[in-house]
């Protein structure tokens, strides 16, 4: 039973939690002050010990994240590295501040730190029996005596272990250095951010388009469905992980919307609007105006009040109108023809029924055209968005592009002449042209570049020219040199240089008829070439916009309609 029988150095171990020490009043204020000071010191030592333990781990983790951020284009690595470091410090600080250190724990720490042989812990745990016994006062007196002139720092020493701090310092220095040195991944991250911004911008544009559709008071169920589709597409873009994915979504939506547009939309639209505008400028006899359907209904309702001459005039007018509707609205054309025939045969009831049918067909055609036009516009918008996404946000490139274009055009014209004795005549012509262009480009830079597509509008007698855009080293550069496009002309008989002369089809009526020609134009080599299928949708869209202008006569609309329809059929 001597000290030599006990192990010289026994490892420390954690003990069971101490009971609450509520008898602190048994000790002197100096002793209690020492224990409370030791408690504060324990809080500091606890925090320091944890920081010392966690610092190497946290800093090495941060360094690993920084290194990962230099080899991978992940933008979250450096912020997470900072967050991990800050979180570690904050967690330790919060833990130290909220740490509960009862007086008994301080007493045990004091006993160990000051080697007081458990004097303070025993003094705090004296029960009633001990207090009244021979040892109570002696234990307290001993604790008080041991507390004199002792400081908490003596009891709880905060010692730094150089190993962990050295590791942490080296790792921190490396992390900061790497953080300050230019990161090769930054350019990639910026590119990714720009791509995300582009996709987000397109998604927002889709949402705005959908919102406009919904806000339109005249919106139909088809418009609402289209708006929902656009919003769905916007959500898909939000969730897209890459430009390719976004482009695929847009292409899918574009194809879907385009498929919903009938090929003869232009004809339908031209017919419907032409009928409305034609009757607006020259209303049916004995009607009070309004749109075409209303005038037809008014005329049908007032047939019994019309004279034979008026009916003949109306029949003639209806036949004329029927001809304009033949391409875009056959149902209306048939009804109008039937009405004219019934009028001439004196069957007012049948005429009225046919005119009512024509009015309904007109309304239906107008509505259908409007709906399809919405889809077409949406399709165009989505297509443009797809092209922008496919093109990407762009990045600086140093390539050079070169393109060649070639256009071909075909013209076809028909004419009608209506003359009077004064020799004045007017004519209508319809032409059709086709153009093809292709562009090729080669980029310089690092030796290989993707030349942008050149576009050219080949038309009858027109020349196309294209210029390859600048290529980029990686082939994804911005085509900041768009193809020079010469405005196509739908049909221009005057410039047909080598076409055959055609009869415009007009029937001279004592006047000069107008002949329009059909020319097989030769194209001039342009700067780029594009397949016609690539240029056609854009042309069609532009033509559609042009048709919206009130000054365009219905016959021209039919001409344009036929033009694109035939192109589509080819």
């Amino acid at each position: 039973m001597t000290p030599t029988e006990a192990p010289a150095a026994a490892p420390r171990r954690s003990a069971e939690p101490l009971p609450g020490a509520g008898d602190s009043e048994l000790l002197s204020p100096e002793a209690i002050g020492l224990l409370r000071g030791v408690g504060r010191r324990l809080r500091l030592a606890w925090g320091f010990a944890w920081v010392q333990l966690l610092a190497p781990v946290v800093v090495v983790t941060a360094l690993a994240l920084v290194i990962i951020g230099r080899v991978r284009p992940w933008g979250w690595t450096e912020p997470v590295a900072i967050a991990v470091t800050v979180a570690g410090v904050v967690a330790v600080a919060i833990g130290a501040l909220t740490l509960r250190i009862p007086l008994g724990l301080s007493a045990r720490a004091t006993d160990r730190g000051l080697a007081t042989r458990d004097a303070f812990a025993t003094a705090l745990e004296l029960d009633d029996h001990d207090r009244d016994g021979p040892f109570g006062s002696r234990v307290r007196a001993r604790a008080d005596a041991l507390a004199e002139d002792r400081s908490p720092g003596e009891a709880v020493a905060v010692r730094a272990a150089w190993g962990p701090w050295a590791v942490a310092a080296v790792a921190a220095l490396a992390a900061v250095t790497l953080g300050l040195v230019a990161n090769p991944q930054d350019q990639i991250r910026e590119q990714q951010a720009a791509e995300q911004a582009l996709v987000a911008e397109e998604a927002e544009a889709l949402r705005e388009a959908a919102e406009e559709l919904r806000a339109d008071p005249a919106a139909t169920a088809a418009d609402v469905a289209l708006a929902e589709r656009l919003e769905e597409l916007a959500v898909g873009l939000d969730e897209a992980q890459s430009l390719d994915e976004a482009e695929a979504l847009l292409a899918e939506a574009e194809a879907e919307l385009r498929a919903a547009v009938e090929p003869d939309l232009l004809a339908q639209k031209a017919a419907a609007q032409g009928l409305d505008k034609g009757l607006a400028s020259a209303p049916l006899p004995a009607t009070e105006g309004g749109d075409a359907a209303a005038q037809l209904e008014q005329a049908a309702a007032s047939l019994d009040q019309r004279s034979a001459a008026e009916k003949e005039e109306l029949a003639t007018r209806l036949e004329s109108l029927a001809e304009t509707q033949a391409a875009g609205n056959p149902e209306a054309a048939d009804a109008l023809d039937a009405a004219a025939a019934a009028l001439r045969s004196g069957d007012d009831a049948a005429a009225a029924a046919s005119m009512t049918t024509a009015a309904g067909a007109q309304r239906s055609s107008s509505a259908s055209a409007a709906a399809q036009e919405s889809r077409q516009r949406a399709s165009g918008g989505v297509g443009e968005a797809r092209q922008r996404v496919a093109k990407g946000p762009g990045s600086p490139g140093s390539g050079e592009g070169r393109g060649e274009g070639e256009g071909e055009g075909e013209g076809e014209g028909e004419g009608e002449g209506d003359g009077d004795g004064d020799g004045a005549g007017s004519g209508q012509g319809k032409g059709q042209g086709q153009g093809q262009g292709q562009g090729e480009g080669e980029g310089g830079g690092q030796g290989q570049g993707g030349g942008a597509q050149g576009q050219v509008g080949g038309a009858n007698g027109s020349t196309g020219s294209g210029q390859g855009g600048q290529g980029t080293p990686d082939g994804t550069g911005t085509n900041d040199a768009p193809a020079v496009e010469q405005d196509p002309t739908v049909f221009d008989p005057g410039v047909a240089t080598d076409g055959e002369t055609l009869d415009a089809g007009g029937t001279p009526n004592g006047g000069d008829s107008t002949e329009v020609g059909k020319g097989q134009g030769t194209s001039t080599a342009g700067g780029s070439r594009v397949p016609v299928s690539g240029a056609l949708p854009r042309y069609e869209e532009k033509a559609t916009r042009a048709l919206d202008q009130a000054k365009v006569p219905p016959s021209v609309r039919s001409l344009v309609d036929d033009y694109f329809r035939r192109l589509a059929q080819r």
Binding site: E5, A6, A10, A15, W50, L105, D118, D130, S137, A157
Partner: protein, 343 residues
């Protein structure tokens, strides 16, 4: 404001007086026994705890002399029993003797055996038969003997100091584990150093006789024994003693590898009781009014070494109980404040 502790009426022996008497006893014994301070302290602790002590050592190291000297110093009644294979229980506890008075009337009178003393030296206890051993060990436990249906209490304090010779095991009867458990501590008597041996030879071969002073009597020693049990113990100190005992059990998770390999059965709860009680006496001998972790760890080896039941692997590998207790002390370790960064 300084708290002025109010000391209650002191017992017959105050803690300070306790330490003084103990120091005087050690000093007087030291006049006869050369060196062996740890052994003297162990025996003194057992006396102050009224616990029995088992001394193990080769002959000639002064075991008997130590106990005789102690009995003289503290003025306790001393008896010695030399255990032999033919020793009978009655030779220890006493027997009924038929007596005839002057009128010729015969009566039985109890003839008290040597166990009726304050200090009983059971010399070479492992040489007696188990039957005789058990007679003494029963008296050790019950502090009373029953002869012819009459139970007779033994004088207090009652302390058995048994000796064992680790050599000459032929014809001996090793004490069973249950009986070993009744010894508070087991002390190993080391061979003295050369310098001490020179002093021993000088003292024992000269004609000078040592005149010992009696420094305590029976009431004083009894009061000291009672005072020993009053020493307060903090809860974590008590828990540490229990942790040490628990770690001696090979099937417990805190047991070190040595315990798992070489120990068949760990210490009984008496091991923890012995540690705490001996630590109380040690604290008082050290002049402290409370038990510390160091007191517990200091008495762990003498309190636990004879309570471990070792397997044959320990004998084969030369592993001793002291080695295993040291492993337990290493494994358990002194308790800290239980907080990271705290001492």
């Amino acid at each position: 404001m300084t708290t002025t502790p109010t000391t209650p009426p002191l017992p017959a022996v105050s803690p300070e007086r306790y330490a003084e008497i103990a120091a005087a006893v050690e000093r007087e014994i030291g006049r006869v026994i050369v060196g062996q301070h740890a052994l003297v302290r162990t025996v003194l602790v057992c006396m102050l705890c009224e616990g029995h002590v088992l001394l193990e050592g080769v002959p000639g190291l002064g075991k008997t002399q130590l106990l005789k000297t102690l009995s003289e110093v503290v003025d306790l009644e001393f008896s010695r029993v030399q255990f032999t294979p033919d020793l009978m229980p009655a030779d220890i506890v006493g027997t009924q003797v038929l007596e005839e008075d002057e009128s010729g009337r015969r009566t039985f009178r109890f003839g008290a055996g040597p166990v009726f003393a304050n200090l009983v030296l059971a010399d070479e206890i492992n040489r007696a038969t188990p039957k005789t051993q058990s007679a003494l060990l029963e008296a050790m436990q019950e502090r009373a003997v029953t002869v012819a249906g009459a139970t007779r209490p033994l004088p207090r304090p009652f302390l058995v100091m048994a000796t064992q010779n680790p050599l000459e095991m032929e014809g001996t009867y090793p004490l069973p584990e249950a009986q070993l458990d009744r010894f508070l501590l087991k002390a190993l008597v080391p061979f003295p150093s050369a310098d001490d041996l020179v002093a021993v030879v000088e003292r024992t071969t000269s004609g000078a006789a040592v005149d010992l002073d009696t420094v305590a009597d029976v009431p004083t020693i009894t009061a000291m024994v009672e005072l020993t049990r009053e020493v307060p113990v903090a809860s974590h100190v008590l828990r540490h003693a229990v942790d040490l005992v628990v770690a001696t059990h090979p099937d417990h998770e805190s047991a070190p590898p040595g315990i798992r390999t070489y120990v068949r059965f760990g210490s009984s709860p008496r091991g923890a009781q012995a540690m705490v009680l001996a630590a109380k006496a040690a604290a008082l001998l050290d002049g402290r009014p409370n038990v510390s972790i160091d007191d517990i760890r200091a008495v762990a080896t003498p309190a636990l070494r004879h309570r471990l039941v070792l397997g044959y692997e320990a004998s084969a590998d030369g592993v001793t109980a002291d080695d295993l207790v040291a492993g337990v002390l290493d494994q358990v370790g002194a308790p800290t404040a239980g907080l990271r960064g705290a001492p």
